[in-house]
C-alpha cells in the first residue's frame, strides 16, 4: 500500500515523557521515559483497524497523538496526506468513560460537536436525532446521562462523535467498562454502524477476542516502549451476517495467534509495572498521568 492512499499514516513516531524519579522531588532528577518507539502504521480509508497491546504499552498515548491532544517527540502523523497539528472535528474520539456532559441531555450531548462546528440550531437538532436513531436510542433524547445505563451512555457518546461527521473515528477501549453482554451487543452494533457510515475506525483495546471480532486488521503492540510487533489480517467477509463468528475455526486460530504474540509482552509489562511501583514507592504509574495531563 502506498502512503498517499492511506487515510491515516503514522510515520516513524516516537513519544517520550519526562517523569520525576520520585514524586515531590523537585531537584531535576527527572528521567525520560520512552512511551512509543518508531511506530509505523497506515490505515486505509474506510478500514476498521484495531490496535491491541498489554496495559501500559502506550496505546492511549498513540490515541492522544492521533487526536492531536499531544504532539510526537519525533516523526509525524498524516491525515489525508496532511500532518496533524491539533485537535479537530475531522477526528472523533470515543472514550472508555463516555465523557458525556452531565448537565446536557442525550440530544444536547450529541449536538455538542455540531454546535462547535457552527451548524444552525434546527439542522443540528435534526442531525442529532438521526444519529440517536442510528445508535438505537430513539425515545431517550431528553434523558440526562445519569438516567442512562453504561451501554446507553456509550451509544450516545458514539452518536456524538459520529454526528459531526469526522473522517476518522478513534475509540479508546470504549467497551472496557461495560458488562460482557452489553459489550457483545455493542460490538455487533458498532460493526453495523461502521458498515452504514463507512467511517475509518481506529479501535484500541486490550481484548484479543474483541480485536479479532471487530478488526479487518489487528496491530499488535509490544510492552513499553510500545512498538508495532506485527499487523495481522483478519480475512472475514461480512461479519455481521456470519452466524456465530466467535466459534469459527479461523477465529479461534487468529485469536490464538495474537495471544502467542502478546503473552510475552503481557508478562514483560507486568514486570515493568512492578518495577515502577517499587521505584516510585507509591504504586502509581507516572507515565499514564503524564499522557493524560495537559
Amino acid at each position: 500500500m502506498s502512503i498517499d492512499s492511506a487515510k491515516i499514516s503514522i510515520q516513524q513516531v516516537n513519544k517520550s515523557f519526562r517523569v520525576r524519579r520520585r514524586p515531590g522531588d523537585l531537584k531535576g532528577s527527572s528521567q525520560s521515559v520512552k512511551a512509543l518507539d518508531h511506530i509505523n502504521l497506515d490505515v486505509k480509508p474506510g478500514e476498521f483497524m484495531v490496535i491491541v497491546g498489554p496495559s501500559g504499552c502506550g496505546k492511549s498515548t498513540l490515541l492522544d497523538l492521533l487526536a492531536g491532544l499531544t504532539t510526537p517527540t519525533s516523526g509525524q502523523i498524516l491525515l489525508d496526506g496532511k500532518p496533524i497539528t491539533g485537535p479537530n472535528l475531522d477526528r472523533g474520539i470515543v472514550f472508555q468513560q463516555y465523557a458525556l456532559f452531565p448537565w446536557k441531555t442525550a440530544l444536547a450531548n450529541v449536538e455538542f460537536g455540531l454546535e462547535t462546528k457552527g451548524v444552525p440550531r434546527k439542522e443540528r437538532r435534526a442531525i442529532a436525532q438521526e444519529y440517536i436513531e442510528l445508535v438505537g436510542l430513539a425515545g431517550f433524547e431528553h434523558r440526562y446521562p445519569h438516567e442512562l445505563s453504561g451501554g446507553m451512555k456509550q451509544r450516545i457518546a458514539i452518536a456524538r462523535s459520529l454526528a459531526y461527521d469526522p473522517e476518522v473515528l478513534l475509540m479508546d477501549e470504549p467497551f472496557a467498562a461495560l458488562d460482557a453482554q452489553t459489550r457483545e451487543s455493542l460490538q455487533s452494533e458498532l460493526l453495523r454502524i461502521w458498515e452504514a457510515t463507512k467511517k475509518t475506525i481506529i479501535f484500541i483495546t486490550h481484548g484479543i477476542e474483541e480485536a479479532v471480532y471487530l478488526g479487518q486488521r489487528v496491530a499488535v503492540m509490544t510492552s513499553r516502549p510500545g512498538r508495532i510487533k506485527e499487523v495481522i489480517e483478519v480475512p472475514f467477509e461480512a461479519r455481521t451476517s456470519e452466524e456465530d463468528l466467535r466459534a469459527h475455526p479461523d477465529f479461534v486460530r487468529l485469536r490464538h495467534q495474537i495471544w502467542d504474540l502478546l503473552k510475552d509482552e503481557v508478562k514483560l509489562a507486568q514486570e515493568q509495572e512492578k518495577d515502577r511501583s517499587l521505584q516510585s514507592g507509591t504504586g502509581k504509574i507516572s507515565g499514564k498521568g503524564a499522557a493524560t495531563h495537559g
Binding site: 485537535p87 479537530n88 477526528r91 452531565p102 448537565w103 460537536g113 454546535e115 462547535t116 453482554q181 495531563h293
Partner: protein, 285 residues
C-alpha cells in the same frame, strides 16, 4: 447468539419502562395518601414545638415574663407588621444583607473563576486566602467600625467580607475539580480555550459554586444580626437588642421570629434556584 439476545434485551427494557409509567398512573390514589403522610411527618415536630411554647408559659413551667406564650408573640408580631414599625427595620436589614451578598457574588465568582483557571495565581493567593478564611469574621467587626464608621458602609462591607470567602473558595474548587476527561473530550472536539471555559468549565462548576452561594447566604444573615447589634440605629438586629434593653420581651421575640422567617425564605429561594440550575444532577433521595 448473545448478540441477538442482548438486542432483544434493550427492546424489553423499553417495554418495561412504558409499563412502569402506566402503573404509576393507576397508583395515583395511593400517592395522595403517601403525600398526606409525608406532610404529617414533616410538620408534627414543629407543631409540637409551637404547642410547647404556648403551653409552657401558661402552665407556669417557665417564667412568662421572659418567655411569653407563642400566641402573644405572634399577635405582637402582627400588630408590629401592620403598624409598619417592623417593615422599616426589615427593609434596612434586607438592603444591607442582600447588598453585601450581591456585591460579594459579583466580585468573588468572576475572581474565583479566574483564580481556579490559572493555577499559578492560585498558588500565590492560597496562603493569604486561608489566613483570611480562618479569621472569625466577627473578630474584625471593630476594625470595620473603626475604619468605616457606624453607617451603612461598614455594615454592608462586613457582610460583603463574610460572603466573599465561601463564594471565592467554592468557585475556585469548582473550577479546579472539573472532570479532566470532560476537558479532554471537549478539547478533542476542537474547542478554543474561551469556548472550553464557557461551555464546559462554567457549567461543570455550577453545583460547587452553589454550595458557596448557600454558605454565603447563611453567613450574610448571621453577620448582619451581629453587626446591627454591635452598633446601629436601625435594622432587625438593632430592633432585637433595643427591645431587650427596654424590656419589650414580646417585641424582642417578634424580631427573632422575623429573622428566622427571613433566613428560611432566603434558604428556600436559594435551594429552589439551585434545583433549577442543577436539575441534571443525580438526585439522591
Amino acid at each position: 447468539m448473545a448478540n441477538t439476545g442482548a438486542g432483544a434485551g434493550i427492546g424489553e427494557v423499553l417495554v418495561r419502562l412504558e409499563k412502569k409509567e402506566q402503573s404509576t398512573q393507576r397508583r395515583a390514589l395511593g400517592w395522595t395518601i403517601e403525600k398526606l403522610l409525608l406532610a404529617f411527618r414533616s410538620s408534627i415536630v414543629i407543631i409540637a414545638f409551637m404547642v410547647l411554647w404556648e403551653v409552657a408559659p401558661r402552665l407556669g413551667w417557665t417564667n412568662a415574663t421572659f418567655l411569653p406564650p407563642l400566641s402573644e408573640v405572634l399577635s405582637t408580631w402582627w400588630s408590629l407588621l401592620l403598624s409598619g414599625d417592623l417593615a422599616e427595620h426589615m427593609e434596612v436589614s434586607l438592603v444591607r444583607s442582600i447588598g453585601g451578598f450581591a456585591l460579594a457574588l459579583v466580585v468573588s465568582v468572576p475572581l474565583g473563576l479566574a483564580i481556579g483557571w490559572w493555577k499559578s495565581v492560585a498558588q500565590y493567593l492560597n496562603p493569604l486566602l486561608e489566613l483570611f478564611r480562618n479569621t472569625a469574621v466577627l473578630a474584625l467587626l471593630p476594625v470595620f467600625i473603626m475604619l468605616l464608621g457606624l453607617g451603612e458602609t461598614s455594615k454592608i462591607a462586613i457582610i460583603f467580607y463574610a460572603c466573599v470567602f465561601p463564594l471565592l473558595l467554592n468557585t475556585i474548587s469548582g473550577v479546579r475539580n472539573v472532570d479532566p476527561l470532560l476537558i479532554r473530550s471537549a478539547r478533542s472536539m476542537g474547542l478554543s480555550p474561551v469556548q472550553l471555559f464557557r461551555k464546559v468549565v462554567l457549567p461543570a462548576s455550577v453545583p460547587t459554586i452553589f454550595v458557596g452561594i448557600r454558605q454565603a447566604g447563611s453567613a450574610s444573615i448571621l453577620v448582619l444580626v451581629a453587626a446591627e447589634m454591635a452598633g446601629a440605629k436601625s435594622g432587625l438586629g438593632y430592633f432585637i437588642q433595643y427591645t431587650q434593653f427596654s424590656f419589650q420581651i414580646t417585641e424582642m421575640y417578634a424580631g427573632i421570629i422575623t429573622i428566622s422567617i427571613f433566613g428560611v425564605i432566603l434558604n428556600y429561594a436559594l435551594v429552589t434556584l439551585e434545583k433549577k440550575l442543577t436539575a441534571w444532577k443525580q438526585v439522591s433521595n
